[in-house]
């Protein structure tokens, strides 16, 4: 009779061991190595690093293997590990203007200093299943050329020269770190950008799409999308200079959006901004569109009641680890609460029946 609440410990152990067995799958098939994941499932690794907020390909690959390819579970593993790491310093802001670009495109200008560079993209592939991959062993070799060392200044900086682009003002405040301070509303743009950069790709994609379909419409041109390697520099107080501690791949997106000027302000283009770890184009684009939609107050626009304009709605719900935890917790036992509901509904029904008889 007591089985319902007994035996938790044994059940947990058995469930875990079964899961490990299933994770490994058919043992006649070679074990998946971490190198295979980090080299051949790179975009999955990049997503896990960006939403896991920890730039480490090997750990992300391990998390993907352990989670059986469930990327949100992998992100969770990385986040939980991240918590245990000591925060000994903050780096200098990375300089994305000096990025060594793997890809750099502008949808606003045909030709730009430094040139357009298509890079490794799915954009113009035909989405036909490539059955050659079934048998492929040899690595395909693509033509190589020496890296074009020309400077690649941000495309939007050319609009800045004409004052056509609204300048982002430095408020001289340290950016907020939402992993160290609880978010309070209204929040700052730095906190918003951090939350969006860690936010769930699917959630951001849906919201960004909603702005394109008229819920807080603000037509965005992709002024520039660049993916490449940047240096991470740390200032060492004892030495009083910066040293390069890492090279990381980032995706940066700047959109150009218009807004109405006023009597005292001539109209200017405005900017939406996305910056994400790894090659994560869809996410960076979505982030830029949402960043722009969330800036309505600062830019003196109307609040149309669209979800993408609602800071509290967007930021409180974009974290997939929070969301999946709370959603999935309803699987946990709720015997006690349900029991109290049962008692109440029976009581109300009994009273109602008495009243009906009367």
């Amino acid at each position: 009779m007591y089985v319902a609440v007994k035996g938790g410990e044994v059940a947990i152990d058995n469930a875990h061991s079964w899961m490990s067995e299933i994770r490994r799958g058919d043992t006649s098939i070679p074990n998946l190595s971490l190198d295979q994941i980090s080299e051949q499932l790179t975009l999955g690794v990049d997503r896990v690093m960006s939403e896991g907020s920890l730039y480490d390909k090997d750990l992300a690959a391990l998390a993907i293997k352990q989670s059986r390819g469930d990327l949100i579970e992998a992100i969770f593993l990385l986040r939980a590990y991240r918590t245990t790491l000591t925060r000994f310093s903050y780096s200098k802001p990375v300089n994305t203007a000096n990025m060594t670009c793997l890809r750099r495109i502008s949808a606003t200008f045909k030709d730009i200093p430094g040139g357009q560079k298509l890079g490794p993209t799915f954009d113009y592939t035909h989405r036909l299943l490539d059955f050659k991959l079934l048998a492929e062993n040899e690595a395909p070799i693509s033509p190589t050329k020496k890296y074009n060392d020309n400077k690649m200044p941000h495309v939007l900086s050319f609009l800045n020269q004409e004052d056509l682009m609204q300048n982002e003002k430095d408020n001289n405040l340290d950016p907020i770190d939402i992993t160290r301070e609880p978010i309070s509303y209204p929040t700052s743009r730095s906190a918003r950008l951090q939350a969006l950069s860690r936010g769930d790709e699917g959630f951001l994609l849906g919201l960004a799409y909603s702005t394109q379909r008229g819920y807080a419409r603000n037509h965005a041109f992709v002024g520039e999308l660049r993916i490449g390697i940047v240096d991470v520099e740390l200032h060492i107080p004892e030495l009083d200079f910066e040293i390069n501690v890492a090279e990381i791949i980032l995706t940066e997106c700047e959109t150009v959006n218009q807004f109405q000027g006023s009597k005292i302000e001539p109209p200017q283009f405005t900017r939406g901004y996305g910056l994400v770890f790894g090659q994560t184009e869809r996410k960076a684009l979505a982030m830029a569109l949402i960043d722009r939609a969330l800036r309505w107050k600062e830019l003196g626009e109307d609040y149309s009641g669209a979800p993408a304009q609602d800071e509290e709605f967007v930021i409180s719900h974009c974290d997939n680890i929070q969301a999946t935890g709370f959603l999935e917790h309803i699987k946990l036992p709720h015997y006690v609460d349900f029991q109290s509901e049962l008692e109440l509904i029976r009581k109300i029904r009994a009273d109602a029946k008495v009243n009906m008889k009367r």
Binding site: A4, G8, A11, T86, P182, E312, L327, L332, I348
Partner: protein, 294 residues
């Protein structure tokens, strides 16, 4: 030493006592002290990602981690029971990371972490009860915006809540809240008691134990200091009423403890057992002693 215990020792060495690092614990303790000074007030804290999912009690786990000392005796319950899966998992976590003594006996515990129940055995001074809280804001389902609800608390503007309770009575003749029934702490803040059945609400009032509430995902901590007035919201003509199934436990025969309903046969026959497994065991022992004496 077998392979298993070797691994567990390695785990203990890797992580700090009770998992969280000392700086994080200090941050949480500061939030706890503030919470104790302003009973019922929700203190924002920089909640950490824990190795369990949000919704599994990460707030309670962080509070427990910040409170535990090596000589503590820990009890963990979920739905009143020590052996539900999540209670087992959390207890194991602290055994592994803090190596503290554990117990199922309410009276032996110095710190009790709970989900959805308050133990039936009366708590004592120097005991700490840590609640896992999903939604710390009692006004959340009336007003989804944090910016608004904080204002409402600041102005003690609780009219909306009373209107909701009134409308329930007007519609059904009863207040429609059976668990997470809102209370007023120290005559001031309306507080969410976490999703305990309203049967447990009176136990919060004037309790000799410290009651701490942790909401990890929502990044809030609040507290009820010992011997604090905690009143369930009600009306003069519709006083608050604690409620439970009107049966006896089919194991220990108790009629004053909160009961879980279980379905025992294919034709849907019901039976009732204590939700508090420790209390049920104690009552069973007492009964057999009485029988022996007879």
């Amino acid at each position: 030493m077998n392979e298993m215990s070797k691994n567990e020792n390695i785990d203990i060495q890797i992580y700090n006592f009770a998992y969280l690092d000392e700086n994080t614990k200090r941050m949480i303790r500061r939030a706890l002290l503030k919470a104790l000074c302003i009973p019922g007030y929700q203190v924002p804290f920089s909640s950490r990602e824990m190795p369990m999912p949000y919704g599994w009690g990460t707030g309670g786990i962080q509070v427990t981690s910040a409170c535990l000392i090596p000589k503590d005796v820990l009890k963990v319950i979920d739905q009143g029971a020590d052996d539900t899966t999540n209670a087992v998992s959390i207890r194991k976590f602290f055994q592994k990371t803090a190596n503290v003594a554990v117990t199922e006996k309410t009276s032996d515990a110095s710190l009790i972490q709970t989900r959805h129940r308050i133990p039936e055995t009366k708590l004592k001074e120097k005991q700490i009860l840590v609640y896992q809280v999903p939604i710390p804001e009692p006004l959340r389902f009336l007003e989804p915006r944090e910016t608004e609800t904080r204002k409402m608390h600041a102005l003690s503007e609780y009219g909306l809540m009373y209107v909701k309770l009134y409308e329930d009575i007007a519609k059904h003749g009863h207040i429609e809240t059976a668990y997470a029934y809102p209370v007023k702490t120290n005559g001031n803040y309306v507080t969410d008691p976490s999703p305990i059945p309203k049967f447990d609400n009176p136990k919060m009032n004037n309790s000799p134990a410290i009651q701490l509430f942790g909401a990890g995902r929502e990044q809030r901590i609040y507290a009820i200091p010992p011997y604090t007035n905690v009143k369930s919201l009600d009306f003069e003509d519709y006083p608050f009423e604690a409620m439970k199934a009107n049966f006896k436990c089919s194991i220990c025969g108790s009629s004053d403890s909160y009961l879980d309903e279980i379905i025992v046969s294919d034709d849907g026959k019901r039976s009732y057992i204590c939700s508090d497994t420790d209390y049920c065991k104690e009552q069973t022992k007492l009964n057999s002693k009485k029988e022996d004496q007879l």
